[in-house]
Symmetry: C2
Subunit: 256 residues, 2 copies
């Protein structure tokens, strides 16, 4: 038992990768063709990128490896956010069919550790897919029924993303090196799913010190060119995550 480099049949990782570009928040999914014995056609199964963990690697390494293998994405900052392990998570016929085709023990009870990240989907180049497997970006409003309990994992990740962007000015790892204030506001509006006041947003962002204005401006746009900003990495490294505050009225007040 426990050969090094062997797969652990009971532990997997799944990656919830959010991508942002063109004012749209998308989820990275693996689209699989599953042979169906009855119809002799292929069923399509969408799933989060994920796989079993090797005995020789830790969880973070497994997440990095699995994501790279399935999508070609490397050096993504993945953050663990929860473990899922309901013994009844395999209920759908398509799930079983796929497991039977790839796993030694399709009935093994698996717990999965979920990771999430938010990246610039325009900059990320996905590996070209094979016939049976392909990585795709799916707008979050159009996410279909997913394999196993992946819909639940996705929903929880989205909720966690909304919360964390309110506490930490994350969302910079995923913007281009230089971005306009409108890009940034659009990112926040997309994730939080509501409108923000332009002036208050700018004031807050500039005063916070997490971004720096550049002298450079947009060129080739048919309107007033916007100034570029960049993320002030040093600032965040010093601060850590302690940039939150309790409000007395209990109201949620990041931006209105």
């Amino acid at each position: 038992m426990s050969l090094s480099h062997s797969l652990n049949p009971h532990v997997s990782v799944d990656c919830v990768i959010f991508g942002f570009s063109q004012d749209t928040l998308r989820l990275l999914l693996i689209k699989r063709n599953i042979p169906n014995r009855l119809t002799e056609m292929n069923d399509i199964l969408y799933a989060l990128p994920g796989d079993l963990v090797k005995d020789s690697e830790n969880l973070n390494q497994a997440a990095d490896r699995v994501l790279a293998e399935l999508t070609g994405l490397k050096d993504i900052y993945l953050q663990q956010f929860s473990a899922f392990g309901d013994p009844t998570r395999i209920t759908k016929a398509k799930d079983r069919a796929w497991l039977e085709s790839v796993r030694q023990d399709p009935d093994a009870r698996v717990i999965t550790v979920a990771y999430m990240s938010l990246i610039d989907s325009a900059k990320a180049t996905l590996q070209p897919g094979s016939f049976s497997e392909e990585a795709v970006w799916m707008p979050i409003e159009e996410v279909p029924e997913l394999a196993f309990d992946h819909n639940e994992i996705f929903e929880q990740a989205l909720a966690a993303l909304k919360e964390s962007i309110q506490m930490q000015p994350i969302g910079f790892e995923l913007l281009p090196e230089k971005f306009t204030m409108s890009d940034l506001q659009s990112l926040y509006e997309t994730i939080l799913d509501r409108d923000l006041d332009k002036r208050n947003f700018r004031r807050k962002m500039i005063n916070s010190g997490v971004i720096q204005a550049l002298s450079e401006k947009q060129i080739g746009v048919s309107n007033k060119p916007a100034r570029f900003y960049r993320f002030n990495r040093e600032y965040l490294e010093e601060r850590g995550s302690n940039i939150v505050n309790l409000r007395m009225d209990g109201s949620f007040t990041l931006f209105n």
Copy 2:
């Protein structure tokens, strides 16, 4: 394989239970006597309460069960906070000795899902221990070297506790039904490990609406008797956790 009700050899849960009473924050540990073949004496191994997960139960159920089995504590609100799975987490001789005495496959690579909670240790009655195993409360400053990677798990839980008390007025589940403002402040000061201003603390707590003043007061104390308060459960249920706010100067400002 995968008999229902069998233990999953690769997945465990560990519980980080903080207890607060008499102005002290304590950690709940299992103290084990481990036979040592060389010395023919018993080594003592401190560990977080934890064990393997059964194939028939989900992670939350496993955490509840394990905690009850090892300590007698039931109906504790346990919150999952992270999974740990470094393949090198078993390094100490005592760890091996104990695993060999209780596990079928002591070399199996195990990942563990960690849960935490904060309870009123004065109210919680621990099960009396056996010769080889006993649950004990340990002041957090005196936590010794623990089994496996349990020190790391503990440290992360403590950090998470500090963060979460700044965002949510937690800490009520663990106070007596009725408590004084000083009790509450003392809890916050202990967890945050710094002093808070009495007037500002009272103002903030009362205005927030999370506690309600009672007409009852202390009796039998040799000083001005303090008013009792109680936790306003309805309030929190409505609010959820969205009671945080980003400050422009990036400062951390819950209480000073």
